[in-house]
């Protein structure tokens, strides 16, 4: 069998306790794969270590155990092969929108001529709807939505093998968020870009993703389920809700976030050498899991290092 494009293997993050108590295990034994061209979202409550996983993938942070392999190469340190869009845009405020994009393009393609860099940057700025003078403005003169568009343009323009989006729409109002989601899905459809995205928004995840990874609550968080979203594309915000599977998926996800993420939390018995894959579910087909009654399993008390 061919190896998946991106392999996350036995990832864990442990912070040593400051006063000699038990160390804080944020997440443990996180395993999942992403195929080329796939759009994968990860959902979980705050503190489960989503952002840490993303930073490890970006190479900005290191995991305590485990490895990330992309394209048969182990990920170590940041690289232009992995583009990142941060929640707070991370545009350089002293550069115009255009310069922010050319900054990335010039770093990616150092031997391109000025003209090539400019043309390429303009192409992506136009793709996100920034043209006609707005590209010469500084980020402070742009609205939040516009800034995030520039940030997305910069990330797509460097044509990374893997695009990492850390709650890219978290700081935007609902209307703007919807528009940019549509734009993101349109740009993504026209490329074979592999995307890994953190979100808190269930509807956003269903609209965008091929697969949604669900994380249990921390500490000792792990990726418990991999929910397949096989709603046919192209999807649109207006029509997707009429799809038969939509509410089954949605209910499954909401149920997970509201109840099971808590119930399943806690330390797992790990058999050394055994890789625990997230459980693959397809709620659109089998209806998903909705916990009707109080779960029999009582939540385990986990010692938390204070």
């Amino acid at each position: 069998m061919e190896k998946p494009f991106l392999e996350i293997d036995g990832l864990s993050k442990v912070y040593p306790s400051p006063e000699g108590g038990d160390p804080l295990v944020v997440f443990e034994n996180v395993n999942f794969d992403i195929n080329k061209g796939e759009f994968v979202c990860i959902i979980g409550h705050s503190g489960c270590g989503k952002s840490t996983i993303m930073n490890v993938l970006a190479g900005l942070d290191t995991a305590t155990h485990g490895a990330v392999t992309m394209d048969n190469t182990e990920v170590a340190g940041p690289s232009l092969d992995r583009g990142v869009v941060f929640q707070n845009y991370s545009l350089l405020p002293w550069l115009s929108a255009l310069k922010n994009v050319t900054f990335g393009v010039a770093a990616r393609y150092p031997d391109w001529s000025r003209k090539q860099v400019l043309d390429h940057s303009y192409k992506y700025l136009e793709m996100v709807g920034l043209s006609g003078g707005a590209e010469h403005r500084k980020p402070s003169q742009l609205s939040g939505g516009m800034r995030q568009r520039v940030s997305i343009a910069r990330a797509f323009a460097i044509q990374p093998k893997l695009l990492l989006l850390d709650e890219p729409f978290g700081a935007l109002d609902a209307l703007t968020r919807g528009t940019i989601q549509d734009e993101l899905i349109r740009i993504w459809s026209g490329s074979d870009q592999t995307v890994f995205m953190i979100t808190h928004d269930v509807d956003e995840a269903i609209l965008l993703a091929d697969r949604i990874l669900l994380m249990t609550n921390g500490p000792y968080a792990r990726v418990a389920e991999s929910v397949v979203i096989d709603i046919p594309r192209p999807r649109e915000r207006a029509t997707i809700i009429h799809n038969d599977g939509y509410y089954k998926i949605r209910n499954h996800l909401v149920d997970f976030l509201a109840r099971r993420s808590k119930d399943m939390a806690g330390k797992e018995d790990i058999v050394p050498g055994q890789r625990i894959e997230p459980l693959e579910v397809n709620p659109a087909k089998d209806g998903g899991v909705i916990s009707e009654e109080t779960p029999k399993k009582t939540p385990q008390l986990v010692p938390v290092a204070s």
Partner: protein, 276 residues
């Protein structure tokens, strides 16, 4: 009719200036001509009017005379105001440039490396509060050249604000921007020049602006000690000549030049300023 705030402020400034000068002029006793004095007045030093604070009109006359020929040179003790200012500016700018060349790279290092910060901090804390003029005897002894010693004093007084502000600005660069540099695989130097330098530039410029102001304050005192040339020496020389008109005139010139220096740096600062 409502005028703009600027216009009204300018009017008020002008009114204050005229009132101030008027009061000053009126309170200065008129010098009697020697022929009008009685024998007794002459004996009691009535002709000693020179030593009184001169009225503004005398200063304006003096200023006109000096500024219409600022670059004359009639020997070591009689040079035009332009030449004196040029000497002072030369000293300030050379000491200041030297300080910038050393302070900004070291500040960068301190800002980027917590180790360097901790290691150098005690030295900075002890050296910073020393009055620059306290270095003068040591500088004269070691350098053995009064001109260079004055430059050294300027160097030592302008180095601290630049060093500390650079370190502070560099250390305070938002982690997001450093991450942007990292994810774009920028090398150390490209990160320093394309991300950290522009990000810290407003803070660095603040330090440079404070430094130039301090340097201009210190040069006057330094030149009073060192002597020979420069605006500080000019003030002291005219005091020795009991020419108070020239003293007041040069005080005003010192103020104007200081203001110009500050304005230049304010402009540069505006140029590198950015809004988040």
């Amino acid at each position: 009719m409502t005028k703009s705030l600027n216009f009204r402020a300018a009017l008020l400034s002008l009114a204050l200036l005229i009132a101030g000068l008027g009061i000053w002029e009126a309170s200065t006793p008129v010098i009697k001509a020697a022929s009008e004095m009685t024998e007794y007045e002459k004996l009691m030093g009535g002709a000693d009017q020179e030593a009184r604070v001169p009225p503004p009109s005398a200063i304006i006359t003096k200023a006109y005379k000096e500024l219409s020929d600022p670059f004359y040179d009639k020997g070591p003790n009689d040079k035009g105001i332009g030449i004196q200012i040029a000497y002072s500016l030369f000293r300030v700018l050379s000491g200041y440039t030297l300080a910038a060349l050393i302070a900004i790279p070291i500040g960068f290092l301190i800002g980027m490396s917590p180790l360097a910060y901790k290691a150098l901090d005690p030295f900075i804390q002890i050296l910073k509060p020393i009055s620059p003029l306290a270095w003068m005897p040591l500088a004269l002894f070691i350098i053995k050249d009064s001109q260079a010693s004055a430059i050294f004093v300027i160097f030592i007084c302008s180095i601290w604000p630049m060093l500390i502000n650079t370190a502070f600005g560099v250390a305070g660069v938002r982690k997001d921007w450093v991450n942007v540099a990292k994810t774009h695989e920028l090398g150390v130097f490209r990160t320093a020049f394309t991300v950290i330098l522009p990000a810290a530039a407003p803070t660095i410029l603040t330090g440079m602006r404070i430094s130039i102001s301090i340097a201009w304050l210190v040069i006057v005192a330094a030149e009073m000690l060192v002597g020979g040339t420069g605006i500080g020496y000019y003030v002291w020389n005219e005091w020795n000549n009991l020419d108070l008109t020239s003293v007041i005139f040069s005080i005003l010139i010192i103020g104007v030049v200081g203001m110009l220096l500050d304005t230049i740096f304010a402009q540069i600062q505006r140029f590198v300023q950015y809004q988040e």
